[in-house]
């Protein structure tokens, strides 16, 4: 079975083509600056050769058309014809309260995804454009939607409700949804697979630390809490996002700085976080470099970052009444050993003991806790695309039977 995974953003489209028998990626790439001047498509062939296609890519439909054109081209492609494609798997950011798992995209489903635009105005429209484009270009192709929010739909009301008037939840569906669901689901399952333990019996905390960052508590195979909320700004301090913040501060800053909603939005999403505190960069490596050169604010930003993650770990251990596995993933979780060390330090009381030697320079998949650590600390590189492909395969196989 051959499955194409698409991730359509507002000005980008990423894609990966999988052959499911061996779970291999046979081609991948992405379009950047979609609809803007200087748009291009970067394609990586099966042999590793990188090809950059330059030219105007006006919208999602044309972008998708070029992707299919390249995949079927004699020169750089790997498909003889589009008939070889069995299905398309789409990343869809927001499924609202309607979707708790991946689904076949029918007209009814798309109508609901369209309804969710209200709470994800930036993300759902481009997702929908990609789905519609595919439908037009390969009529009748099976398409599956994999939602970022679906995994967290098992969270109970006591954890997803905010302390605001209940009518606002009824009126606007304001509640915690959580994001990175596909990633948290993949790494938690993968960790159990690697350890050879039953996914349905484990208490796991998964820390996805990348550009955006969130922590999820997964008990007996179900997400029971996560740090991102109604929008992805809640929770951990991130590269440029502030994370948890007293709402009183928002009002106070807006008043003192005489700014409106737009500027406030930019302030908390783009000027804050690691960048805002350190004044150096949102890139962990640059901030660590600055710290090594004696920059105190860089050191403070890193301390704050680690401390926040640690606080969430502590609270989720309380929420789950214990912990078996602690996972670190995402660009920072997979590569920054100093962050991992900072996050896991002084948690021996809770049975979390990092093997500091093993952690140093660890860049692969595996355990980094000491042999006698009660909790297994693991690094599991995330692979959202594979997860989307697997979901798509499962749903499509059932239909084809």
């Amino acid at each position: 079975m051959k499955i194409l995974v698409l991730n359509c953003g507002s000005s980008s489209i990423k894609y990966q083509l999988f052959t499911m028998a061996d779970r291999k990626v046979v081609a991948k790439g992405g379009i950047e600056k979609l609809g803007m001047k200087g748009s291009f498509l970067k394609h990586v062939r099966q042999d590793g050769q990188v090809v950059v296609f330059e030219g105007e890519i006006m919208d999602h439909k044309i972008g998708v058309e070029y992707i299919l054109g390249i995949l079927t081209s004699e020169k750089h492609g790997c498909l003889k014809s589009l008939d070889e494609l069995d299905a398309i798997g789409h990343r869809v950011v927001h499924g609202g309260e309607e979707f708790n798992k991946s689904v076949l995209l029918t007209e009814d489903v798309l109508a609901v995804v369209t309804k969710c635009i209200d709470i994800a105005p930036l993300h759902n429209p481009p997702n929908l454009k990609g789905i519609r484009a595919m439908e037009e270009l390969i009529p009748g192709i099976l398409q599956v939607g994999v939602f970022d929010t679906a995994f967290h739909q098992t969270i109970e009301p006591k954890a997803y409700m905010y302390g605001i008037p209940y009518t606002l939840y009824k009126k606007f569906a304001i509640r915690r949804y959580g994001f990175h669901g596909t990633s948290h689901r993949y790494v938690t399952r993968r960790a159990c697979e690697l350890l050879g333990v039953d996914y349905q019996t484990q208490s796991i905390i998964s820390c996805h630390l990348g550009n955006g960052a969130s922590v999820a508590a997964v008990k007996n195979g179900k997400s029971v809490d996560t740090s991102m909320g109604f929008t992805p700004i809640e929770g951990l301090m991130m590269g440029t996002r502030c994370g948890d913040l007293d709402v009183g501060v928002v009002q106070y800053i807006m008043e003192k700085e005489e700014i409106g909603l737009r500027s406030a939005n930019t302030l908390f999403n783009k000027h804050a976080g690691i960048l805002g505190v350190s004044g150096v960069s949102s890139d962990m490596r640059e901030v660590e470099h600055a710290k090594a050169n004696g920059n105190e604010r860089a050191a403070l930003a890193l301390d704050m970052y680690n401390y926040r993650v640690k606080k969430y770990i502590g609270s989720y251990i309380a929420a789950m009444n214990g912990l078996n596995i602690l996972i670190l993933t995402g660009g920072i979780g997979e590569n920054a050993d100093t962050t991992r060390a900072g996050v896991c330090s002084d948690l021996d009381f809770l049975g979390i003991s990092l093997d500091t030697e093993k952690n140093k320079g660890f860049r692969s998949e595996g355990i980094i806790s000491t042999p006698d650590s009660k909790v297994k600390i693991m690094v599991v590189p995330t692979d959202e695309e594979l997860m989307i492909a697997l979901d798509t395969e499962e749903i499509v196989s059932k239909i084809k039977k």
């Binding site: 990188v50 330059e54 105007e56 006006m58 044309i62 054109g69 409106g260």
Partner: protein
């Protein structure tokens, strides 16, 4: 082993090979880069559009860049944009002396300073002509004006169906509104293109029939004239009149504050033009307004208008300002 990166033109890889079209409004031109021109350049570039502006000499080009940068720095200081966004915005704006650089533009806006126009329509007709000589027949040509009629301005052109008049609100950042005027010649197709452009830069479009003063200026000048009248009759003072409108009617700024921001000379010119067009006494500049302009109290730009300002543009509060 894979060699270096291979580059290919994407057009050859479409499924149908027929969908090769250009992004609409990937590049726009601006003639004259005063306050209005700078504002349009900054906004368009913010939304990813390349901007070419034409000025009369190198000094003016430098001045325009400097001012655009200054506003962007202020935006950063007030958390509106990031340093990276500022660099990207500036990199898309190019100043030039040569009309030939307008080649490839999808939209050209004439926005020369009112003082350089001298109120004469002849210069602007010439500019329209020079734009038409360089751009494609489907390029929209617009004038930034509130009191000059676009039909008159475009009547000499070969393709006059693509001309419109537009009016941006440059007073404050959040005024996301553009008035667009069709001439007698403007086709629906051209008008739709302008709407697309306005949508692209995230502004609301107000379609207005051709009439001097449009909606905004015509209402505002009468409001200001009446405010001056009340002031002259000694009924109230500047501060209180502004407060009344702000608090009582929920306006962001009072009439005198707006006037100071816009520039009193500009407002008097508007009034003169509208008065000449309609002959209605309501539009005739109030004597107090004329007095301030003669005294060169032109508003915030010179630190004195209805109010006084320090060198940072902050208002100096005085008690009971009367005329």
């Amino acid at each position: 082993m894979p060699s270096e990166v291979i580059y290919e033109p994407i057009e050859e890889f479409g499924l149908s090979k027929k969908n090769v079209s250009r992004t609409l409004f990937s590049k726009i031109g601006i003639i004259g880069c005063g306050l209005v021109g700078q504002n349009i350049a900054r906004v368009a570039s913010f939304y990813g559009i390349e901007v070419v502006f034409i000025e009369v000499n190198e000094d003016k080009i430098r001045e325009a860049y400097k001012n655009i940068e200054k506003v962007l720095d202020e935006r950063i200081e007030h958390w509106g944009i990031t340093g990276g966004e500022k660099r990207a915005i500036l990199s898309r704006i190019k100043g030039t002396l040569d009309y030939q650089d307008l080649k490839g533009c999808d939209f050209v806006i004439e926005a020369i300073r009112a003082v350089d126009r001298g109120g004469k329509i002849k210069e602007r007709r010439e500019i329209f002509q020079r734009i038409e000589d360089v751009v494609e027949p489907d390029c929209i040509i617009a004038t930034h004006s509130t009191t000059i009629v676009i039909t008159e301005l475009s009547s000499d052109l070969k393709y006059r169906d693509r001309c419109v008049s537009i009016h941006f609100f440059v007073n404050h950042q959040e005024a996301r509104l553009v008035e667009v005027v069709r001439s007698l010649y403007t086709t629906d197709e051209s008008f739709q293109k302008v709407c697309k452009f306005v949508n692209l830069i995230n502004r609301k479009i107000i379609s207005v029939q051709e009439s001097a003063g449009l909606v905004s200026v015509r209402i505002f000048v009468v409001l200001l004239n009446e405010a001056c009248e009340i002031l002259m009759e000694g009924i109230s003072n500047i501060e209180d009149i502004d407060q009344t409108m702000k608090i009582g009617f929920g306006m962001r700024l009072g009439p005198f504050e707006v006037a100071d921001k816009m520039g009193l000379d500009k407002i008097v010119r508007w009034m003169d033009n509208i008065y000449n067009e309609f002959g209605d006494i309501r539009y005739k500049p109030n004597p107090y307004l004329r007095k301030l302009v003669r005294a060169k109290h032109l508003g915030m730009e010179v630190n004195e208008g209805f109010y006084k300002y320090d060198e940072n543009g902050k208002r100096i509060f005085q008690n009971n300002q009367k005329c």
